[in-house]
Amino acid sequence: MLNDFFIRALVAGAGVALVTGPLGCFIVWRRMAYFGDTLSHAALLGVALAFLLEVDVTLAVFAVSVVIALLLLALQRRASLSADSLLGLLSHSALALGLVALAFMTWVRIDLMGLLFGDILAVSKTDIAVVYAGGGLVLAVLAFIWKPLFAATVNPELAAAEGMRPARANLIFMLLLAVVVAIAMKIVGVLLITALLIIPAATARRFAAGPEHMAVFAAVAGVLAVVAGLFASLEWDTPSGPSIVVAALAFFIVSLLHLGDRRKAGGPS
């Protein structure tokens, strides 16, 4: 019953979710949701550039994400505009620029819906290889910088004072996010990458006893959402990205119900 393309989509989607879960925990802890949005919206600009310069799409998206991330770091240091205004400005400007640039390139036949919302049909074996190579690298680096990054998340000054070099960990974290945006774009689409970062992490928060715990649970919740969402997408012919996000949302709501049950049981907190 399962078609070949569907297996590919499942494998690729699960690979993405395994990475966005742990990374998403840091996004939630650091209140960086809007930052993730900005990076993923800028991905469309990367796609446009890739067609214009005839380079690999994933590479171009990664490059644009890195530039946007560094730009943000630099602009935040100047702090002339509040951080959220700055992010909103960059996020939507990048999205609009990408859309306009793609419209100009009339010679390019492109599935805009697929870019914005993801397309399971588009997942190739090469994509799977990219997801697992990139994702594996991201997880390895994340494990390596976990301690300083986590210390910097709890308190940057404390981390700096005790020799954790938080600035370096932050910079590496930005680069990891750029990689994730580049590999997740095809599965969930540029508009919804942030959802895959945040919702599984938020779901995991309800069950987690510690930060590492939460990262693992978030990965699991993400994989479950991908599987459920893709099956739904196949069944009702809905776009893959939104279907996955709706499934993730459903799991999040179930996690809230679980908490309600515990409270009713009157267990000691």
Partner: protein, 292 residues
């Protein structure tokens, strides 16, 4: 010069300027092993800035900040906010920057009196419990230099004294240098070796006694502040109980605390004139209430 032990941290004519304004300037400061140095000063006088400069969190705009090679620091920052979304138990918090064995964790928790809170979530702790958890984390890594930025905030008066006593016990046990910031003008612990009084620059410095008696200190905090600083010298030989009575070093409990009650060490009365003029500990208690 060469034989003298190298200071753990040293600031030389160090200053920080932001947008053309000097937050602090011309700071000379040294902390050595086994020594407690306290920074006091009004709000905005640059106490935290000075500490952060000493820690290397911010680089001085002028002058020099040097730390001994391989210096291991334990830091209790002034403000630590744990996000609701962060699942973090006290136990996990202890290992934030340093792996620790179970025994090391237990020792730090026991030393700060929060053994029963090991499994508690950090964000559910009360102010005083959280300060103890911060302190436990900082000492568990056995630092050479302990930097405490207002370690007694959110702690009530008797808890404050207990924490100060804990700090000096830590110094004795780990033989580390301690740089402490106190926003409490009236309570500077008796165990402090040197006090630096800051107000954008070093107003005056020396032993608590010397600083309390200096003109600069009096003009900054008024004579009442000076009186309270001096009065606190008594705390090493008596403790104020929550019900207002006083327990003395010899174990007796009296309703009040006054110099002639026979429970105090004599040398303070002999060589500390203004102490008698400015009154007894109960006045210090009232002064504290007035100030707040």
């Amino acid at each position: 010069m060469l034989q003298s032990p190298q200071p753990l941290v040293r600031l030389e004519k160090a200053g920080i300027s932001r947008s053309g304004r000097w937050l602090v300037r011309d700071i000379d400061l040294e902390v050595r092993s086994g020594e407690i140095v306290t920074l006091i000063g009004p709000n905005g006088s640059g106490k935290s800035t000075t500490a952060r400069m000493a820690l290397g969190v911010i680089a001085p705009s002028e002058g020099r900040a040097t730390r001994r090679d391989g210096l291991r620091v334990g830091y209790v920052p002034q403000k630590v906010a744990i996000d609701w979304t962060l699942p973090l138990t006290v136990d996990r918090f202890l290992t934030l920057t340093n792996p620790l064995s179970r025994a090391e964790k237990d020792e730090a928790l026991a030393a700060t009196g929060i053994s029963h809170l090991a499994a508690a979530e950090v964000r559910n702790l009360s102010g005083g419990e959280f300060q103890r958890a911060l302190l436990a984390r900082a000492i568990a890594r056995r630092p050479d230099l302990l930097v405490l930025d207002e370690p007694v905030q959110g702690v009530d008066f008797s808890g404050e004294i207990a924490l100060y006593e804990l700090v000096s016990a830590i110094r004795d046990r780990l033989h580390c240098g301690i740089l402490m910031i106190s926003h409490d003008l009236h309570v500077v612990m008796a165990a402090t070796d040197r006090v630096l009084c800051l107000n954008g620059h070093v107003c005056c410095h020396g032993t608590p006694q010397v600083v309390a008696e200096s003109e600069e200190y009096r003009s900054l905090f008024g004579s009442r502040g000076a009186a309270q600083l001096a009065v606190y010298q008594h705390h090493h030989d008596h403790t104020h109980l929550p019900d207002g009575r006083v327990r003395h070093a010899d174990g007796t409990v009296t309703a009040h605390c006054f110099p002639g009650d026979g429970h105090h060490h004599h040398h303070y009365h002999d060589d500390d004139d203004h102490h008698d003029h400015h009154g007894d500990a109960p006045e210090a208690g009232e002064g504290k209430a007035d100030a707040e």
